[in-house]
């Protein structure tokens, strides 16, 4: 009798259970919404990008190996002038160079902020890096145009426009992203690793180099991926300083172009559905695939090179 009453009470769905169902569904729908957006964009970019090949019958070979970009016209050799190679190379170069240059600086700064002078780091460097994230890329572009390009021209020769200038501008632009994420991952390295290392007679530098950085490697790699992602997607600033010429880059100071810069510049001047427009979407698709590739690559390196925390 008593038991049955209790059983009844326990079997009744409580308000809490309804809450849980509600919350679960709510958060699931938020995720599904994001998924829908992501999928939507990916499908959108993919259909648009692939129609260059399937609707406009451009061959993959022309697209990926051609070096002349003027969609709608033909190259002297009679192929469609949709050679995206210069942009692909430009994007690769500028992204990798920017990442290569800014990673040591970012790590150095992050190490300074967490290991050497945490107080000053938190007081000065952190707000400043957060501030930099918000400066519009146009402003970066103009500072690049009025400071970096003349500097490169006077120091390295050439017109000043080119991958080198793009690298410098991107270096500053992705620095805050990498720094703040590296700081997060350094902070998540338990304090006792540092103590253990110091107690074994390691110097501060040895501790940082051999323990802290090694333990934080996966996090740092993620930071670099995000920095590269930002470099990949950056358009306005790069476009202003890289010269934006669809030429194969011969050196670091000759005008070149990136996928995004061509994409951004061309979008408004083409008509939806035309070959010119589709070709631009193909560039976006390439961008998407390339960032997927980088993502997987770095995750792979991260998994191989580091241990589980």
């Amino acid at each position: 009798m008593q038991n049955q009453k209790l059983a009844k009470q326990l079997m009744k769905k409580s308000k809490t259970a309804r809450y849980e169902r509600f919350g679960h569904l709510l958060s699931l729908s938020a995720l599904l919404l994001i998924m829908a957006i992501v999928l939507g964009i990916i499908v959108f970019v993919a259909t648009k990008g692939l129609s260059t090949f399937f609707n406009d019958h451009i061959s993959f070979k022309d697209f990926f190996t051609g070096t002349l970009w003027n969609p709608g016209t033909k190259t002297p050799s009679g192929h469609q002038a949709v050679g995206a190679l210069p942009m692909i190379v430009g994007s690769f170069l500028v992204t990798i160079l920017a990442a290569v240059v800014s990673t040591p600086f970012a790590i150095g700064t992050a190490v300074y902020m967490t290991e050497i002078s945490p107080k000053r780091g938190a007081k000065i460097l952190q707000p400043v890096t957060e501030l930099l994230v918000g400066i519009p890329s146009v402003v970066y572009g103009f500072i690049g145009l009025s400071v970096v390009v003349p500097f490169v021209r006077n120091t390295f020769g050439g017109s000043g426009f080119g991958i080198l200038s793009g690298t410098f501008v991107l270096f500053v632009m992705i620095l805050p992203t990498i720094v703040s994420m590296t700081v997060d991952s350094l902070k998540s390295v338990p304090k006792y690793y540092r103590q253990a290392s110091l107690a074994l007679g390691a110097t501060k530098w040895q501790t940082i180099w051999k323990v802290v950085l090694r333990a934080a490697t996966p996090g740092i790699l993620t930071a670099v991926v995000f920095g590269m992602a930002r470099a990949f997607g950056e358009a306005l600033a790069v476009q202003m300083v890289i010269g934006n010429a669809a030429l194969m880059p011969h050196n670091l100071v000759s005008p070149a172009s990136t996928l995004t810069s061509v994409l951004t510049a061309g979008m408004g001047n083409t008509v939806m559905g035309s070959l010119q427009n589709d070709a631009l979407w193909s560039l976006a698709l390439v961008l998407l695939v390339m960032s997927l590739f980088f993502n997987l690559l770095v995750h792979f390196i991260g998994r191989k090179g580091a241990f589980k925390k």
Binding site: Q195, A196, G201, K210
Partner: protein, 252 residues
């Protein structure tokens, strides 16, 4: 009775304005296990960390007085911190192997000291793991991540890591508080073996542990040493009422 290996003399320590240690005077004899006990916040861990200057890392800490290691004041400006910490090793509360392989963990201290000879490293790895009584459990997995072992094994790996740099004193800060009784017992047995070659100073919350393994026990309270004597005396017939209350669990 041999000469003390470490002596703390009139040691005061301040965190900013707060005085955490008051005129500590303690001698530690070689080849003994000395236990530091006392309620939370009594300064026992703080004191332990003074012995290899691990408190130097903390902002706002002021230390006065002397800690002599073989008649040399470790707080003199000439002291080489790195060398000091190689002589006076430390094991921490939480098993804290680096997230590397066991082998890399053990050889860490040697490598940073510049030892590159593979054969020598191998020898030392085997020797110190054996000393720490964990060789049999890890010898087949030397290249596995140290974090994949159990807590007790991790702690013994940490001990081996300290042994690898051949210190003469090992400081231990509650080395078994995160472990289950079986692992604790293994560590305790390890320590009893180690004291033949090393001097061990251990902070512990576990009074039974202090009574089981230590030769001498110091009871700390509010930054002062209340009583320091042979463990057998401390646990049967201490001089001080506070000590008696504490070790018999009637405290607070």
């Amino acid at each position: 009775m041999s000469d003390p290996i470490i002596t703390a003399d009139n040691l005061d320590l301040y965190y900013g304005d707060f005085q955490a240690l008051h005129g500590i005077h303690l001698d530690f004899e070689p080849h003994q296990i000395s236990a530091l006990i006392g309620p939370s916040g009594c300064g026992k861990s703080t004191f332990l960390r003074c012995l290899n200057r691990m408190n130097d890392m903390i902002d706002g800490v002021t230390i006065t007085g002397m800690v002599k290691f073989h008649d040399q004041n470790i707080y003199s400006p000439q002291t080489n911190l790195v060398d000091l910490r190689k002589e006076i090793g430390m094991v921490f509360q939480q098993p804290n192997p680096f997230p590397f392989s066991v082998y890399d963990n053990i050889t860490y201290g040697l490598r940073i000291a510049g030892v590159r000879d593979k054969q020598k490293l191998d020898e030392i790895v085997e020797r110190s793991l054996k000393q720490a009584a964990v060789w049999d459990e890890v010898k087949d997995n030397l290249y596995d991540n140290a974090l994949s072992f159990s807590g007790g094994q991790q702690q013994r790996i940490c001990i081996a890591r300290v042994l690898a740099v051949s210190p003469s004193v090992i400081l231990m800060d509650e080395p078994t508080s995160a472990l289950d009784p079986i692992s604790s017992a293994k560590i305790e047995n390890t320590l009893l073996e180690l004291k033949k070659e090393y001097t061990i100073i251990i902070v512990t919350h576990n009074l039974q542990q202090a009574s089981r393994i230590s030769d001498k026990t110091a009871f700390f309270m509010e930054g002062r040493v209340v009583e320091y004597d042979d463990t057998s005396k401390m646990f049967v017939n201490p001089d001080n009422k506070q000590t008696e209350d504490y070790v018999s669990g009637r405290f607070g």
